[in-house]
């Protein structure tokens, strides 16, 4: 007899597995792991329902460090495994951990389709803008010109913006945070609360191969002016003095930063965040300097039917139509004859 332990009684540490964590000292993944372990006890889910699925990459080692069910699969394909798992058993609480290479280089197609289908799961993208595990080649999110062993004279690829891509693929929930962000568990909780695929991009520092790449956004001295923490229903205001705001220039149909109190700008002019507005979310997701801040928080949340529920209801309907389905009867349907 197995008795399920109510998760509520569990502590973050109860979600740590017995395996030694083997990321480089100082890797941003540690903080993300901790944030997840701090999140789960607060969710109303039995521990044995959690399944962590990943592909291949430093970040994809994640499941080994969780004491939940875990499946470390193959490079780029985690969304497909997760889809099979969730369709098979919609009761499971599926979390997918991926990297910018795993999720958006080799895995871009599966990412597109899981988002489009809206299979209920949380996808945590550890975006370090580099291939960590294979020792530092540029990734699809690397900045143009980045010099790496495979781009000694600078990458000529133009970088992908994962959240913009996700919205283009039909995602119903996208959010952004960074590894050491205090309230990262809150973002995870929002992602979890959203029924359907939730994509959380986490800016993650790779101390070995791409150290400090997010410093122009995350460094203490610039943070207030280079980040905007968006919240549904609240004006898009940021800055050290909380007086900068995002305005829609209706002439050019672009977002721009304005200062409240300057040039006659009032709070009225500042956009109010509407997380159900896809166009706004797309524009917010696009922002990445130099003039515009990087948007953090829940950029888009606009739930719609989930895939596995649609599958379930078609099943239920089919079963309702034929109450005690018999394969033997099926084989005897149609044209038969006795010899």
């Amino acid at each position: 007899m197995n008795v399920a332990v109510p998760t509520q009684k569990l502590k973050p540490n109860d979600f740590a597995s017995d395996q030694e964590v083997r990321w480089c000292p100082g890797c941003g993944d540690y903080a993300i792991l901790k944030a997840v372990q701090r999140t789960l006890p607060d969710l109303d889910v039995a521990k044995e329902k959690y399944v962590f699925v990943s592909g291949i990459g430093c970040s994809s080692r994640f499941p080994y460090y969780m004491s939940t069910y875990g499946f470390h699969t193959i490079h780029g394909r985690a969304p497909a495994f997760a889809t099979g798992i969730k369709i098979t058993n919609p009761d499971l609480d599926v979390w997918l951990v991926t990297g910018d290479g795993d999720g958006f280089s080799i895995g871009g197609n599966h990412m597109l389709h899981v988002l489009r289908r809206n299979v209920d799961m949380q996808i945590l993208l550890c975006n370090n803008e580099i291939y960590g595990l294979t020792k530092g080649q540029y990734s699809p999110t690397s900045g143009e010109g980045l010099r790496t062993p495979s781009s000694p004279t600078g990458s000529v690829d133009s970088p992908l913006k994962p959240l913009v891509f996700a919205l283009g693929s039909g995602a119903r929930f996208v959010a952004r945070g960074y590894d050491t962000q205090k309230n990262l568990p809150d973002v995870f909780k929002r992602a979890h609360a959203h029924k359907g695929t939730s994509l959380v991009e986490i800016l993650q520092n790779c101390i070995v191969y791409n150290d400090a790449v997010f410093d122009d956004v995350l460094a203490r001295d610039v943070a207030a002016d280079k980040q905007i923490h968006v919240e549904h229903g609240k004006p898009l205001i940021f800055g050290t003095d909380k007086n900068k705001g995002i305005r829609m220039n209706t002439k050019t149909l672009t977002l721009e930063v304005v200062t409240v109190g300057e040039n006659g700008i009032t709070e009225e002019d500042i956009l109010v965040h509407d997380e159900t507005n896809k166009a706004l979310a797309t524009m917010l997701a696009e922002m990445d300097g130099p003039d515009l801040p990087v948007a953090l928080g829940v950029l888009y949340c606009n739930p719609s039917a989930t895939y596995e529920q649609a599958v379930e209801s078609q099943m239920a309907e089919a079963k309702a139509k034929s109450s005690a389905p018999s394969l033997d009867a099926l084989l005897r349907e149609g044209h038969t004859w006795e010899l």
């Binding site: 499946f71 394909r77 389709h113 084989l331 038969t336």
Partner: protein, 623 residues
């Protein structure tokens, strides 16, 4: 309609009794040839014949009317004796247009019969077919028995009372011809009429017109003096096991077998697939079986398809995926993961002619190498092959049994030929079968993910959602027992040995190989696998009748091979291996048993002819 008309025609005195007949219906894709074929099949089955069919679609979806590449054909071999193949050479060719004649005439038996619709032999169609002169007039068909009928005109006449457009009317051509052929073989029309009524329940005018055409064709036959041209025949009942029968294609049988297998295992089936010719019919069949708890998932590609199926197995269902050669190639990496994580998985490969895109609508057996050897690393799995349409059902069940009992991927080989071909099937009763219910692990006591059942070497199947069994698996090498990541050199050897031995051990759990025909020792063994069963079987039986020392061995289990196979094969002076590939099973046999297994290969996209195997037997016995 006259009640008397639709009764079975009693064997007329002037009918010649023949043991078997091969008819090939051919016409434009739009002529309804496949429907004609399947109606003829049902009626023939009802008449008590054994039979085998071969639908031969054009590669194009809907090619321009009248072109040679738009010709669709359906061949049926039926008889008063057991029938193994769809027949080497048609006795009768029905050609509804010049292109159909052009494409098919070379197959016809010398002296065979041709029924042509002269109404379609106009200048335009002749030119489209590539004829410079009219073959009906230029003597090129001398030596065949020809029945020339203006079917088009006759049909329009027969259906005019129903007020159809000319186009709709001409669509009844196939039933007119069917009526005529029914007369020639003394067949009952009732079943076809019932079928038409049911099929066109909402368009009774169409049903009536087709029935009228059917009857008109029949009447035409009665009136014409056919014994002078194509002749009248009777084909008696075959001796078949008594019971309830239906016809079944390989695709259907496979789909049903997978459902049966998962039921016997006590599991839900999850089927992840991506459409590809000729594998798609299995997806289509299973998509209709939601009431049995079958979940079908049309993935974005073959990789996602297999990964979703592995995910499903991980989550406790029986994961199944299906594709054809190029798609299976894409699954190689993921198959390795299923092997490494030791999860059950059934991989169905409906083979087609390769390499690369190859000939998607043509059949071949050239994925055996890929099945046995086609992955990175030492990555053994189980390989099974079905030898005919109804056998697909049994092999699918066996695949489910082995996959779940041994926690292993199983590659199930079928091919385009088997998938589309139909044969009568003595309907089995699943309720009577011994279930092989899978026990998933629930007890946390002493649980380790890679602690094995000492007999099967299978690891326990612990499904997410089970309290206390939380664990992690993945494609990195795992420590024997605990399943933790292990870079330990000795452990990798241990695990490689275990994976190999688990699969090889299955040889103890499958039947000993017995010859299908012939003695267990002798001059020559003809060993085959898959859809070559029909022609090999007939060829060997013909040669046995001639008194030759020859035996037929046909493999269902290709990896591991049956434990006694090596000894069995060594009992023959010579072993030949007919395969629709460039010699793949022969590699496995030579490697395993060091016997001089000699390849007999054919790579034309077409099944072997019986005579080709007979020639190979003669050659092997003489050389």
């Amino acid at each position: 309609m006259n009640e008397l008309n639709i009764k079975a025609d009693s064997v007329a005195d002037n009918r010649t009794a023949v043991p078997s007949v091969v008819i090939r219906f051919a016409g434009d894709s739009g002529d309804g040839i496949q429907i004609t074929g399947s109606r003829f099949t049902d009626t023939t089955a009802l008449a008590g014949n054994d039979l085998a069919t071969f639908p031969d679609f054009p590669a194009e979806i809907r090619a321009p009317v009248g072109t040679t590449f738009g010709v669709s054909a359906f061949q049926i071999n039926f008889g008063a004796r057991s029938i193994e193949t769809h027949g080497d050479e048609p006795d009768v060719l029905v050609a509804l247009n010049p292109a159909a004649l052009m494409v098919n005439i070379a197959r016809l038996r010398k002296g065979g019969s041709i029924i042509v619709d002269t109404g379609s032999f106009n200048a335009r169609n002749l030119k489209k077919a590539g004829y410079e002169t009219n073959p009906l007039e230029d003597g090129s068909l001398d030596g065949y028995k020809i029945l020339e009928v203006d079917v088009s005109k006759n049909v329009l006449e027969a259906v005019k009372e129903f007020g159809l457009s000319q186009k709709e009317g001409l669509r009844c051509k196939n039933f007119w011809v069917l009526g005529l052929v029914y007369w020639i073989y003394g067949r009952d029309r009732k079943d076809t009429i019932d079928w038409l009524r049911a099929k066109f329940a909402k368009r009774p005018d169409i049903a009536d017109a087709n029935i009228a055409a059917l009857n008109a064709g029949h009447i035409f036959g009665e009136a014409a003096e056919l014994s002078d041209s194509v002749g009248l025949f009777s084909v008696g009942k075959a001796e078949m096991k008594p019971g309830l029968y239906r016809t079944v294609t390989g695709g259907e049988a496979l789909a049903w077998g997978l459902v049966a297998g998962s039921q016997l295992a006590g599991l839900e089936a999850f089927f992840g697939s991506y459409p590809i010719t000729p594998a798609s019919p299995i997806l289509h069949s299973l998509a209709k079986l939601k009431q049995f708890g079958v979940k079908t998932f049309q993935a974005e590609d073959e990789i996602a398809a297999i990964c979703s199926a592995i995910g499903a197995s991980y989550a406790g269902a029986l994961g199944i995926t299906s594709s054809s050669g190029p798609g299976i190639a894409l699954k190689g990496e993921a198959i390795g993961l299923a092997i490494s994580t030791e999860l059950p998985l059934v991989i169905v490969n409906s083979q087609r002619a390769g390499p690369s895109t190859g000939l998607p609508t043509k059949t071949e057996q050239s994925d055996l190498y890929q099945s046995v050897y086609g992955r990175n690393g030492d990555a053994p799995l189980v390989v099974l092959a079905a030898h005919g349409p109804s056998d697909c059902f049994e092999v699918a069940i066996e695949a489910c049994r082995l996959a779940t009992k041994y926690m292993t991927p199983v590659m199930l080989l079928t091919d385009g030929y088997i998938g589309n071909a139909a044969e009568p099937w003595l309907i089995p009763t699943i309720a009577d079968r011994e279930p092989f219910t899978v026990e998933q692990r629930t007890d946390p006591e002493g649980y380790e993910p890679f602690n094995r059942n000492p007999e099967t070497l299978a690891r326990p199947w612990a499904v997410p959602g089970t309290p206390g069994l939380e664990h992690r698996i993945g494609g990195i090498e795992k420590a024997d027992g605990s399943g933790h990541i292990s870079y330990e050199p000795a452990n990798h050897q241990t695990m490689t040995d275990l994976r190999r031995n688990k699969i090889l051990g299955i040889a103890r759990d499958i039947p000993e190989q017995k010859p299908e025909q012939g003695e267990s020792t002798g001059k020559l063994a003809v060993i085959g696998w898959g859809s070559t069963y029909g022609p090999i079987s007939r060829a060997v039986s013909n040669k046995l009748k001639e008194g030759k020392s020859v035996a037929q061995i046909h493999l269902r289990h290709l990896w591991p091979l049956p434990a006694n196979l090596g000894d069995l094969l060594k009992g023959y002076d010579t072993v030949i291996v007919p395969e629709m590939n460039d010699g793949q099973l022969k590699t496995v046999l030579r490697d395993q048993y060091l016997i001089d297994a000699r390849p007999v290969t054919k790579v034309t996209g077409q099944p072997f002819k019986i005579t080709e195997i007979e020639d190979a037997i003669d050659f092997a016995l003489e050389n």
